[in-house]
Symmetry: C2
Subunit: 270 residues, 2 copies
């Protein structure tokens, strides 16, 4: 399995602290050694760093950890391969363009017998179930709404229906962003924390590193950090219930919808 | 204006030497200070580094210069903005997926009154004429050939027709690759060199750096390096004639087609 890390903020914020703990899980404190990646939105633009090497040994990860890139939306992933060989083309996060915005997607889980009809508008480059799911999601969003972006609530509602479809095929924890909203699906395991005033100290679980957020923030700053497993050991993280889809924007949750399949779907899937 | 750098090889090769000279043009030896970017193909995957800072001062460029990433196809760009604000979303190269392959595009020039019909399948995220041209190229390739990649000769022929259309609107030097072929259009200014056995020493124009390629290559290695202006001062670069479209593969030119507009088009455009 893999691990996910996301951040959604109301002002551009650097993720160096959280990434330091997350990076250690790619070979030092945990076994996710089959590559890693991170995407930073800066307005409409994206910086995407991908490396098929373990993040704990990667010079690119070292750069990301030391070089503060300020972003309102970040998605990172460290990989333990389940489907698809180790290689750059199978390294998350994946990027495509829809409605004149870049979309970034990372997945933790495993989908079985997921072979949707792809019409060619978005095709996987690699061989993961994850990229296939991402391509199908975007294809269906464009099919539903045409070539311009609908309001956020419409996107979230459509994403909910599509997530239900895919989640029937297995474990489907994901993070998805187009630079404004960050959508998170807790299929089995995902937690989040909102950091806002009054800011305090936080201490990493995976490294002996402490940051005092009160020294590096302004009073109105707000950041939601989402991760497969809590990254700090002295803050209270919220476990996201299995089967819940979340819409974060401006550093806080806007809406949540349940994605546990109904009884008839369970039967059909069993 | 901007500067382009491309490399197409028969074996994965690092571009550290050429990039060292190219990077200096982004603020040290030349004026291209409005951002820079570089894309490396590794098989089907792509590493894309973008930075709206001058390349001569960018920690990301420093990483690229020191960390040898081996690739058969590389496209790099340093920017002097003509259309579109300075920002990550307007930083070349641009990336999209077509036919289950990533396509990378960088442009040097200036297009006037180029406002093609975009059907929504590929839309610009930023505001440059360059990204608009790239989106239209991919849209038309997909429209012509459907959802699977045709043979290289068909792609090159179609690209030739599309380049003629766009070149009517102004200066349109570009590099384009899907990881196998590298296509280069010399609208006004582009040069290339083939490095192959017997390998010799090369000395950069923009930095006092020499490399002895005979020490770092195998006898069968072959690399085509393409740049707006020659990068070395002791090798013979071939000037590509204004109005020529080139198809490089496995480190050498495969085919060239003229793109000077015919008399009737000149009349129509005047």
């Amino acid at each position: 399995m893999c691990q996910l890390l996301g951040m959604n903020c109301n002002v551009p914020t650097d993720i160096c602290f959280s990434f330091t703990g997350f990076q250690a899980r790619g070979g030092t404190t945990d076994v996710h050694t089959d590559g890693w990646g991170i995407a930073f939105f800066e307005d409409r633009g994206v910086r995407l760093f991908l490396d098929p090497q373990p993040s704990s040994a990667s010079p690119v990860a070292e750069l990301v950890r030391r070089y503060p890139i300020r972003s309102k939306n970040v998605i990172a992933h460290i990989r333990k391969a389940t489907q698809g060989a180790i290689g750059l083309e199978n390294t998350h996060p994946f990027m495509r363009e829809l409605w004149g915005r870049y979309w970034i997607f990372a997945h933790n889980g495993h989908l079985v017998d997921f072979a949707p009809d792809l019409d060619g508008s978005f095709l996987p480059v690699g061989s993961t179930d994850s990229e296939r799911a991402f391509c199908w999601l975007l294809q269906e969003l464009r099919r539903r709404f045409g070539s311009s972006q609908p309001p956020g609530a419409k996107v979230f509602e459509a994403l909910h229906g599509l997530t239900l479809e895919i989640a029937r095929h297995g474990e489907f924890n994901f993070l998805l962003s187009q630079g404004g909203a960050l959508f998170a699906h807790a299929s089995t395991r995902l937690a989040y924390i909102i950091r806002q005033a009054p800011f305090t100290q936080a201490h990493l679980k995976d490294q002996d590193v402490t940051v005092d957020f009160s020294e590096v923030t302004a009073p109105d700053d707000r950041a939601a950090v989402i991760a497969t497993a809590p990254l700090t050991d002295n803050e209270t993280w919220m476990e996201m219930p299995a089967g819940s889809l979340w819409w974060f924007e401006e550093g806080r949750p806007v809406q949540t919808l349940a994605t546990l399949p109904g009884p008839e779907k369970r039967a059909g899937n069993g």
